[in-house]
Amino acid sequence: MSAGRIEKRFAKLKHEGRAGLITFTMMGDPDIETSFEILKGLPAAGADLIEIGAAFTDPMADGPVIQVAGQRALKAGITLTKTLDLVRRFRATDQETPLILMGYYNPIYIYGPTRFIKDALTAGLDGVIVVDLPPEEDEELCIPAIDAGLCFIRLATPTTDDRRLPAVLAHTTGFVYYVSITGITGAAGAQTTSTADAIKRLRRHTSLPLAVGFGIKTPDDAAKVARVADAAVVGSALVSALASSLDGAARRSGATVEAVLGLVRDLAAGVRAARKEVVG
């Protein structure tokens, strides 16, 4: 049933003939209630699927923007338990929008993978992206999660060649997240042509929806991706917008929620205006 939310959302997007917008914001940034206010406002602002960041002290795949966001969130007292609480509160008013938790393995490992899967599903989470769990380490979380109905969304990257792709896709459910650059989050974007080629390559290996992320900052960037992929993921740009709205002590200002949601509306307009090309 929870795998259903992601599947249904992509089916709906397909029916509408457009790509989706996936947003990423860090739970607890700049404080727990503000991050929830933003989360609650995302669907109306045009987010089709929502990634929620689970803060970690050592985010080795993230650029400075998301690193600092995680530090703000930890300072504000966020934990994995409180992150799942936000999921539960979100589900009280929204039963449709898929929620995907993105983070690193250690907090989940300490929480206990089995307990995490159970609590995440109960809270209403639809999927997880665990940056530092490649297919080589599938037994503990990935396979039990999929068996329980929690999607395990895997990253594919420019270094994932055709020989390796089948292994990466073997235990991927929900959608595939293509990281369009070799680099950390928030880095310079990829060339649209290389992304289009990569999407073609991925389509030969999977029928799952394909989302593209890393380096997408503007409505125009998002529109370009929306022409070739099933969804565009925007993270660092939203977190940056949030950061610029904070006061000198890194606390929310009156403009914080709108800084994020306003950008989401612009990005959604870009994605929705892009006419999807048939690729591959």
Partner: protein, 404 residues
């Protein structure tokens, strides 16, 4: 480890696990790279020409074998065990770190890599990496925590003189763990050209095994040298553990000798009970960081906590996964020595033996000072003097309240 163990030297398995520890917990972008590295290393280590080349550089450039020295005055002073120092502080660049750097730089060249990156804490690994890069004519970028840059200025300057670019890391706790995060971020970005030269037995497979193999020259030499000096194997081995590369280098060739006791000495900082320490085995719990599962200093939410030690080289909240496994299997005893005890050991060694130990092996010496008097005079103890203390004189002066 509930099944009988035939050998403690068989790990890791083909997926890089030592029991539940080790593994490959990295972002997908890096997976193809570490699989390539694993293949390249397997090929090189089976190649006679590679081993001969490494032996050449170790002998004529690093200055191996390092002596096994009978510390007679210290032994007499402590009034118990017969203490030997394995003098790895006499290597070129002043520490054991170069044993591993020499091996990895030759591998990087074989793999056609054109740019080297490294992390460093105390700066010893950074200096050793900058040195081999200068020697081989390869550009070198060293990531170092901003806090460590401040407390290890001589090594920072040394690296720059050797032509390396030292990048201050201002994220997180601004120490070694953050330098490692930053090096991983660089590697994710520069996948084609760059070789990540990890300085300790941590990180994703194959690093823990590969770095151990390169450092095992310490134990192999010790074995030959003690046989020559005493006609028998030692009774105990003592080494400090931060990430754990000098300790595993000494221990590994002896792991299957059941009568040899081994002590890995962690940094207890201000004392384990204060919470300000770097003793991940004594006071941490299993977790996943920097590509492997191992003992970590962390809170109840799985957030990594900051380590503290007077020694920048031991100031790391994790430990190599093989040590985690050796702890659980009880083959090695892990103990901890405080900043204060290490400083006392430092002073004693300077006066009695004319050797300024680095603050890292001063921790090992701190345990030798406790242990040796309790042992008989025919007990043979080998301690790894893995680095020299010249780099630490400012820290020591500061701790002793002396203005320089």
């Amino acid at each position: 480890m509930n099944t009988a163990i035939n050998s403690y030297r068989a790990g890791p398995d083909e997926r890089g696990h030592f029991g539940i520890y080790g593994g490959r917990f990295v972002a997908e972008t890096l997976m193809p790279l570490i699989l390539d590295l694993e293949k390249a290393y397997a090929k090189a280590s089976a190649d006679r020409a590679f081993r001969d080349e490494l032996d050449y550089w170790l002998e004529f450039y690093v200055g191996r074998p390092s002596p096994l020295y009978h510390a007679e005055r210290l032994s007499r002073h402590l009034g118990g065990a017969r203490i030997y120092f394995k003098r790895d502080e006499l290597n070129h660049t002043g520490a054991h770190k170069i044993n591993n750097c020499m091996g990895q730089i030759l591998l990087a060249k074989r793999m056609g890599k054109t740019r080297i990156i490294a992390e460093t804490g105390a700066g010893q690994h950074g200096v050793a990496t900058a040195t081999v890069c200068a020697l081989m004519g390869l550009p070198c970028v060293v990531y170092m925590g901003a806090v460590d840059i401040e407390r290890q200025k001589p090594n920072v300057f040394r690296m720059k003189l050797l032509g390396a670019e030292v990048v201050p890391v201002k994220s997180g706790s601004r120490t070694l763990k953050d330098a490692m995060n930053e090096a991983l971020r660089d590697w994710v970005t520069n996948v084609d050209s760059t070789y990540y030269l990890i300085g300790t037995v941590a990180g994703p497979h194959p690093y823990p095994a590969m770095v151990r193999d390169f450092q095992s020259v310490i134990g192999r030499e010790t074995r030959e040298q003690i046989m020559k000096a005493e006609g028998r194997l030692p009774d105990s081995l003592v080494a400090c553990v931060g990430g754990g590369s000098n300790a595993i280098g000494l221990f590994h060739p002896f792991l299957d000798e059941p009568n040899i006791k081994m002590y890995g000495v962690e940094a207890a900082g201000h004392g384990i009970e204060t919470g300000q320490h770097a003793a991940s085995l004594s006071a941490g719990s299993p977790g996943v960081l920097h590509g492997n599962r191992t003992y970590l200093l962390q809170d109840a939410d799985g957030q990594v906590t900051e380590a503290h030690s007077i020694s920048a080289g031991l100031d790391y909240p994790g430990i190599g996964p093989e040590h985690a496994w050796l702890k659980d299997s009880a083959r090695v005893n892990y103990v901890a020595i405080t900043d204060k005890e290490a400083l006392e050991a430092f002073k004693l060694c300077a006066r009695l033996e004319g050797i300024l130990p680095a603050l890292e092996p001063a921790h090992a010496l701190g345990h030798v000072i406790k242990l040796a008097p309790t042992l008989p005079k025919d007990h043979l103890m080998v301690m790894n003097m893995c680095g020299r203390g010249d780099k630490d004189i400012f820290t020591v002066a500061d701790a002793l309240g002396v203005g320089l």
